[in-house]
Symmetry: D2
Amino acid sequence: MIGQGFMGAAHSQGWRVAPRFFDLPAPVEMAVLVGRDAGRAADAAAKWGWTESSADWREVIARDDIDIVDIVTPGDTHAEIAIAALEAGKHVMCEKPLANTVEEAEQMAAAAERAEAKGIRSMVGFTYRRVPAATFARDLVASGAVGEIRQVRANYLQDWLVDPEAPLTWRMKKELAGSGSLGDIGAHAIDLAQFITGQRLTTVSGMLETFVKERPLLAEGSGLSGTASAERGEVTVDDLALFTGRFDGGAVGSFEATRFSTGRKNAFRIEIAGSKGAISFDLEDMNVLSVYDGTAPGDRLGFTRVLVTEEVHPYMANWWPTGHIIGYEHGFSHQAKDFVEAVANGTNPSPSFADGLQVQRVLDAVERSAESGSAWTPTA
Amino acid sequence: MIGQGFMGAAHSQGWRVAPRFFDLPAPVEMAVLVGRDAGRAADAAAKWGWTESSADWREVIARDDIDIVDIVTPGDTHAEIAIAALEAGKHVMCEKPLANTVEEAEQMAAAAERAEAKGIRSMVGFTYRRVPAATFARDLVASGAVGEIRQVRANYLQDWLVDPEAPLTWRMKKELAGSGSLGDIGAHAIDLAQFITGQRLTTVSGMLETFVKERPLLAEGSGLSGTASAERGEVTVDDLALFTGRFDGGAVGSFEATRFSTGRKNAFRIEIAGSKGAISFDLEDMNVLSVYDGTAPGDRLGFTRVLVTEEVHPYMANWWPTGHIIGYEHGFSHQAKDFVEAVANGTNPSPSFADGLQVQRVLDAVERSAESGSAWTPTA
Amino acid sequence: MIGQGFMGAAHSQGWRVAPRFFDLPAPVEMAVLVGRDAGRAADAAAKWGWTESSADWREVIARDDIDIVDIVTPGDTHAEIAIAALEAGKHVMCEKPLANTVEEAEQMAAAAERAEAKGIRSMVGFTYRRVPAATFARDLVASGAVGEIRQVRANYLQDWLVDPEAPLTWRMKKELAGSGSLGDIGAHAIDLAQFITGQRLTTVSGMLETFVKERPLLAEGSGLSGTASAERGEVTVDDLALFTGRFDGGAVGSFEATRFSTGRKNAFRIEIAGSKGAISFDLEDMNVLSVYDGTAPGDRLGFTRVLVTEEVHPYMANWWPTGHIIGYEHGFSHQAKDFVEAVANGTNPSPSFADGLQVQRVLDAVERSAESGSAWTPTA
Amino acid sequence: MIGQGFMGAAHSQGWRVAPRFFDLPAPVEMAVLVGRDAGRAADAAAKWGWTESSADWREVIARDDIDIVDIVTPGDTHAEIAIAALEAGKHVMCEKPLANTVEEAEQMAAAAERAEAKGIRSMVGFTYRRVPAATFARDLVASGAVGEIRQVRANYLQDWLVDPEAPLTWRMKKELAGSGSLGDIGAHAIDLAQFITGQRLTTVSGMLETFVKERPLLAEGSGLSGTASAERGEVTVDDLALFTGRFDGGAVGSFEATRFSTGRKNAFRIEIAGSKGAISFDLEDMNVLSVYDGTAPGDRLGFTRVLVTEEVHPYMANWWPTGHIIGYEHGFSHQAKDFVEAVANGTNPSPSFADGLQVQRVLDAVERSAESGSAWTPTA
């Protein structure tokens, strides 16, 4: 695994726990943790249970005893590492967004395609697809329970930047993060909406907004936390992205991604309405899917609050008895499980780098629309 | 109508509005409002739209041009007025609880039975039976949707007495109110639980508690509000009633009635679980009935939040379009409508005085159980 | 009152009930109901309690004994009637939207301004401003509880047109209704968002969509119901309107109005987030306002579910005790009360025709944006 | 660890994960898994990551390299194993209920007291105390936020026995399980209510009910699942326990524990109301604590839905960013952490065996009350 931030902890938990609850076709060994700083990498490896650590990712991906490379670094480094790893014959899992630009994403998707020809697998980490309620939503839609889809409402709302004195981290610098709310959490909204509906956005109209344009620089610390200094720097990414879109299956959608929605901590809410039914999901209450069956008797119509903890629900047979909920990190175990299965069985895991590229193109179209007066902008 | 407190306003709205939304078999004229104090009765009559007022209920019930007597006075006066009115050949609607004692209620039920032989109708005002969601709940249970009922949980929770300085009104004096939370709101819990389940409590085990034993006397004002004086008086009724019971159909139930449940304003919550399904209701959200269908597919199980505003729901075809909710007082219009229909059609309205007596017997059994160490006490 | 559809029933209830709960400075007499068809007007007058009926609105507005004209006809007739009534010296309450076009609305606003110089009052019926939770939301925002507003999310979702066989009523014909979801319910979303925030939309980017382009013609019946015939006609209005906007106070907003959102019956949801707090409202649960106080202690943060039924809440002291909820039509009583007070006290009621015109301009800007590729379009 | 059922999986996850997220004062080594059947124990050890397995718990507790014994077997074996382990000088964590009888629990508490004198620690696994929202509830009550506590409502509702054909497992046999819903989940309700309130039940009045008196025997399989045979056996434990109680601090409480509440999967709901505020919790939504502050301004009163995922909340600083929820098994990591800290720091972990004994006495009092007509029965 390359990288040691918040995502490093989450992916480590995925690799650690998956084999304890699922019957995997191959054993998982947590071999090497790679970080820029050798000391911090060694500490993180010890903490998280990786056998070794290293500060040199190139050396690690060259090793024969490494089968899988898991990339959890900031987006600006994904392309270089992922392409090198694929070319070294390693199966690659890469955190989302796939890259910071369409160009990089295209190179990665091309590398993944070349690798696939040699049996090398790759996958982008849109983990929320593997929240059981989200997977179940996809299944319901695919089964026709919602009918012809008409509206999609996808809001990903957080509020950790509301304080104008919150310091300027890498996530607020365009050169490192690519974009702000849009790429960070808007990318999830796009991917999950497309995943559940089985439709793709063809055209978008959007706007971006930066509410707080200057913030204190980080005096010390890194990642997403640290002490503020007296100096200030410019925020070069969006605080909010708002866009509408048309899907290739006829649905229309509205999207919002922001880290400024006071009171919403991790409220990733998706509502889908169709000719026969509707579904509603909120990541803050992630074990629940609300399902509306428009074909129910007229006096029994309403949203059913399905607690997605039954054995028949995706992934849930391997966890706890009914009614015992799971948490944020379980999606990483599901992701690890599915990736190991794909690698061992010689199938392509999903979402692919091509899927990641497509999301990148939507993000890019939103940015271009925002720059051109919110005009409709095709995503391809 | 005899009485002019909070219930007078509610019943007046019922009589006023029912003919405007429902097609009644007879016209409704709001003829005379009777109150102890002539001046206040005249004011209330003008305010609420009654043609005349009077301070002498005996005179009014003797009038030939009066068909219906609606009694909304405190419980200690119900028996005398209702029996006199029935004997004068008037149809009688009487607020709940039917009386303050089993003895009075027995006399009233006997009077109602004698009157019925002459075609005179009577009804006790357990209005919540006519909240559409509650009526619908009864219909669902009667249709077998819940199967064999196993548990009933009925809590009626308010918090308007939490403040120990809230003054001592008639509702806290046993000689006027009969009992405290038990008779005031516990009576509703008993009636509605029995109504929805179609089962009757046969035996109960209960406790009563008075948390604040002395309160400031009312310096001036009456009814439920007024200014506190410096003197204090004893609270002679319960602040909380807690009891369990067994129903004649095999269900077991737990009940709580209190005006001390901080944060609950008018939370009358009923949950019923059976072999095939379950329902859940809360008066604070009275347009909703939550319905669980245990026969649904295993991945679709959950409580459905039915917004009881469809044309097919009880009483709702005559109000607003779907999704437009109704409020507290609509039950009084439904009650007025059903009573007028019964009188005009020569049928017996429900709940009868006999039903009111049966609730009184349950209340009495709870009090006796509480006095005898919570021992099981039969209700009949 | 001119008009006798669904809105006629609602306004009648407002006039009927307001004087019974509020102390009005002048008595309310429900004098004449006017409808195109004399027989149906007479029936409606009898049903709703109007003293007389008429088929000639011109005659009625010429009468000396009429002080107030309440217009509840379809939007294409508002301008002619309202202007005539104002010129006849009558105070005018006019249902929303003020008109079907900006031009008509401008004429109405001009007429209202001329009338105001003579002490004649006018008001447009954006009744939801008078839902106590909405009024309270406005008060909270005005008090600074939300801080600097950043996002507005306003969705008005219904589903009564999901069935493609629902017949073509006047609401689906552009010449009668002006627009579809946009003018019908989107107008409410715009007005209420502006009312609560105290900010006005300056520019919008929008799209309109018609999902079902042909529907059965009405064989018989009128208004919003009737029997479908075998013939079909074209739907000339939108089924869905989706737009974003910028407010003059710096907030950004997203709006959706649709009668196709399966499962949502009357879900008018508004969320407002600011630098210090946030609020959330849903008309299906209209007695509740969820309030987030960002200045609360860090371990106590969260949305507080305020049941807006306390004496201190707007309008609520005159209804029922705490916890006893009100329904859809109570807003019409509040509207009647406020209008009578304004007329009697010689003040201008709100929202004015000028406010109605401004909403009309926003609706028009959304339509023009939709026609020009969703480009940003100024509202003035 | 001795035992390998559902609780074995949960405890294993606790030991596995705790050191990866918390900074423990001592390393955790998952040494030996003990199970009655050597083969199954070996499989479970491999699956869950224990270094060794054994079929002989006596041998294992005699080993010098074992410091901690974690007992997750059925309740009838707790006393023998725990006492032996304590006498062998091992720190003991024992699943709840502490034992199946008061007598066994007394012996265990006595053994724990003797061991404590030698620095040997023991703890009973009422894990729900370590759900952050529950710990936070305790903290709030202790801080006085709720004031003087008046009511406790504690329901633990599941529905996995509603099907009368669900087979007869050890949990339905009195000789193995001690009691039914009462000891299994009612014990949690008692413990958590006492933990949060800081008060102890002094007297109870209760009833027990067995709805389905015969069930198919298990043909094969064990634990909580397996295939049903054609033969039937008697259910010798309760399906439902319903009781009321008085606490030593003046509060009154109502309790229900049942595995027959159709639609409730793992609904452990606790409501506490006091003179100043109230709290409400539901394990199905375990990351949330609803808090009512009765001292808030009159127009802002309501339950605040606190998402207990902030750094300042108990245990949460070590998991994920705000808004990222945790699941059922996290309590086991918190329990492991706290136990390791107590052992390493030489302090007594909580809840102690004496606490477990006290819960056992309450369970026993409920059973005795149920046998004596629901009469008030002291718990000590």
